[in-house]
């Protein structure tokens, strides 16, 4: 949370995972903190807080963004999808299933962001090759897996 002395508020209206949400938020609140603290959508993670790691990735009006670099007020009037909005209940997407089958997850901290970036990549390009997958996931850092199994999962999903 950014520090500020004179707090001003803003009546925010956003669509989060398909539901309209109206909340009064401090103007200096980051979208990341709004999602995690106010809406309790804690699938979106914070690691670096400066745009380097991608753990806080969400989809804003159809584009992946780092929610740590955006104020909640900037999202006013927008549609946001977080990792919680991706699956339908227990029905995982093919890509999420592929992450499980390929054992692509270790500690899991990077995975929500990784999955959203991969979903977005596949949305733009039906069968990305490994090089394109690497470029598409370049904004997401993983400190556990060494990436190979993550790329395997995205590649396998593309093959289906």
């Amino acid at each position: 949370m950014l520090y500020i002395e004179d707090i001003e508020y803003f009546d925010l209206v956003v669509i989060v995972n398909g539901c309209e949400v109206c909340r009064r938020v401090p103007t200096h609140q980051r979208l990341l903190d709004f999602l995690r603290d106010d809406l309790r959508l804690t699938g979106t993670k914070e690691v670096c807080g400066e745009g380097e790691c991608g753990a806080c990735t969400v989809i804003l009006n159809g584009e992946t963004v780092n929610s740590c670099l955006i104020l909640a007020v900037e999202a006013h009037g927008s549609e946001i999808m977080t990792i919680e909005g991706l699956s339908h209940g227990q029905n995982l997407t093919d890509l999420q299933q592929a992450f499980i089958e390929k054992h692509s997850v270790q500690c899991g901290y990077c995975i929500p962001g990784m999955v959203l970036s991969a979903e977005q990549l596949e949305h733009e390009q039906a069968q990305p090759d490994r090089e394109i997958i690497k470029q598409g996931l370049a904004g997401n850092i993983c400190r556990c897996t060494g990436y190979h199994k993550i790329i395997d999962a995205v590649e396998q999903k593309g093959d289906r």
Binding site: T57, T64, V65, L71, V73, E74, S117
Partner: protein, 280 residues
């Protein structure tokens, strides 16, 4: 901090007229501003978001020129056929810029106004002899990009002025961009440069050559000594590459030493120029 999102240019100018210049900050993609706020920089009293004004973004064909709105994102430039076909160096700079999430937010105007010596769109813009279009309460003016940026983080914007767009003359010639970072993605440039050239393929000489390099001085620098020596010439590039030294003043920092920057720039530039002039 009060947040504003004007939706038209007149509304923006009216708003800025009512605010005390020292108290507000303009917000584009926020990819430079937000990390600064997060590392403790004091927040402004007023934050004016430019993203609500449609005429600030877009790439427009204006006959002899193209005009790029300051709020155009790096990703939009990267996906533009016009940029890809006619402004290769700029396209390459956007393709090697950070990664998807940042490219989706970061704007060309933010990159220019941030005026970092390492800004990746800057060497191409300098090499194309781009002009920036500025709007403000006193009307509109246009200046060459090299006059607009005066030092790290410093620009020629007066109080209440806004960068509206950047204008690139078409038919500049063939262009190419090179970025040396410490890794492939998400890297701040250790050096970067752009070359715009018209080459006589028969004689293997440069008819026209402009070179602009970044991260080797407080602002992007034209390498005019070397480019001048290669005018109507294409031979012995290795022998005259040291002319580069006369136009640059790199420093040591956490990413590289000054000596490394000099050497890397000269080696990669010599290689690039030789390829250009000898290409069939």
């Amino acid at each position: 901090m009060k947040y504003y999102r004007p939706v038209s240019e007149p509304e923006l100018l009216d708003l800025l007229g009512t605010l005390d210049q020292s108290n507000y900050t303009l917000l584009a993609g926020g990819t430079d501003l937000m990390p600064r706020f997060e590392s403790g920089m004091e927040l402004p009293l007023h934050l004016v978001d430019l993203k609500g004004i449609d005429c600030f973004s877009g790439i427009n064909d204006r006959g002899d020129n193209i005009e790029i709105g300051s709020l155009t994102t790096i990703d939009a430039l990267r996906k533009s056929d016009l940029i890809h076909q006619s402004f290769q160096a700029l396209w390459q700079a956007t393709d090697q810029f950070a990664a998807t999430q940042i490219r989706n937010r970061a704007t060309i105007g933010g990159n220019i106004c941030n005026a970092s010596p390492a800004g990746d769109t800057l060497p191409p813009l300098y090499a194309y002899q781009a002009q920036v279009r500025i709007i403000g309460p006193a009307g509109e003016r246009q200046v060459p990009i090299a006059d607009f940026i005066s030092g790290p983080g410093k620009t020629a914007l007066n109080p209440s002025e806004i960068l509206f767009s950047v204008i690139l003359p078409k038919a500049a010639g063939f262009s190419t961009f090179y970025k040396l970072g410490l890794r492939q993605a998400m890297a701040v440039s250790v050096i970067n440069f752009a070359v715009v050239a018209v080459v006589d393929r028969e004689k293997k000489v440069f008819n026209k050559l402009t070179i602009a390099a970044g991260s080797v001085a407080p602002t992007v620098k034209y390498l005019n000594k070397l480019a001048g020596a290669l005018q109507n010439n294409g031979n012995g590039i290795d022998g005259i590459i040291d002319l580069v030294d006369q136009d640059i003043s790199p420093i040591d920092d956490i990413r590289a030493t000054a000596a490394y920057r000099r050497k890397a720039l000269k080696n990669i530039l010599a290689f690039t120029l030789k390829e250009l002039v000898n290409k069939r």
